[in-house]
Amino acid sequence: MSTPTAGTPGAAAHNGNVPRGLDWQVAVADRLLAGGVTVAAYVPDSRLDGLLARLGEHGLPLRSLTREEECVGYAAGQRIAGRRPVVLMQSSGVGNALNAIGSLVVPYRLGLPLIISMRGTLGERNPSQVPMGRATASFLGALGIQSFPMRRDSDAAGVTDGVLGLAFGAQESAALLLEPDLGGGREHR
């Protein structure tokens, strides 16, 4: 039996083209840690990579899972036990996650903070990313979940704290949308 090796994303072969240590990545990660987040469930994304690396460096358990819906289900299991999970995904995975959000997280009021790296919006050059990206906030809104776009480093602490407040305080899931203006994505590749 081999032992699990996953942990810090890309620890074995980090691609130097994927930026880490950006100001907003550090700020969001540090506010998640300050807000008592206990585990991060995610499907990888280039813009999320540095954020997750920062969380991992501070000892937060990171759970790379196979599908966004699975991240939501996993987080629901954590949340019902009173833990404070955060779920991170690319906007293209929101469609995969909707059933678990709409028929588990919302009716059970298991407030989850969702951090969504946006594709398909400003500057997107891949046509296949556009329909899901431009519909992300509408999909979530149709399930009653508020989305808060983040476009500047200076928004990071306030938006992160606010999303955590809704999720863990009001028990209402809420989404932080990481917009392309922040940098760190791959809209142009």
Binding site: R63, G73, A76, Q78, I80, A81
Partner: protein, 186 residues
């Protein structure tokens, strides 16, 4: 082979693992878990097909001191089957997965589940995961007693019955129940 139905199989699970927290998938698994535990404080899913195993993985990692049983219909398991690979990756030592394999989508009218599951073979192919097939109450009991964790048991169901209690649960009650169960300890 003695005929086994979902109620009998679930009663074996509860009898062998009386202190376990159960996460049941929508439909017959939730109905059977409610019946076998006398509506005990467990994590009954009322929908979210395909997400019960992921929820059980999250719960198992959140309460490592408790045994967690994922009690799944075969259709539900298949819809979220990739989570088995995540169980293989993260290996919670307190999680047992029981797939009630009756070969049918019971809640929508009993339409057949097309593929064979072969979960023991699948588990054998994955890292860090045990797998057993059980086709009688006795073999299910033996499997639950001895299987390594994390492990998956394919409980082959040969007699179809509807357990009785509604699978349409009150989410707020479920959440309160699970939290009280965790607070009370094993």
């Amino acid at each position: 082979m003695v005929a086994v139905n979902i109620v009998e199989a679930t009663r074996v699970v509860v009898d062998v693992l009386p202190d376990a927290l159960i996460v049941s998938s929508l439909g017959t698994a939730t109905s059977a878990a409610r019946l076998a535990t006398d509506d005990g404080p467990h994590f009954y899913l009322g929908a979210a097909m395909g997400s019960a195993l992921a929820a059980a993985l999250g719960l198992a990692e959140a309460v490592p001191e408790r045994q967690v049983v994922a009690l799944l219909g075969d259709g539900d398991f298949l819809m979220g089957a990739s989570t088995l690979w995540s169980v293989s990756a993260w290996r919670p030592a307190n999680l047992v997965v029981v797939v009630l394999a009756d070969g049918a989508y019971a809640i929508t009218g009993g339409q057949p589940v097309a593929p064979s599951l072969r979960l023991a073979e699948v588990a054998d192919a994955l890292d860090g995961l045990a797998g057993v097939t059980a086709d009688s109450a006795g073999s299910l009991r033996a499997a639950l007693t001895s299987i390594d964790r994390p492990g998956i048991v394919e409980a082959r169901i040969s007699e179809r019955v509807w357990p009785g209690p509604s699978p349409f649960v009150d989410p707020a009650e479920v959440v309160r129940g699970v939290r009280s169960n965790i607070a009370a300890g094993p």
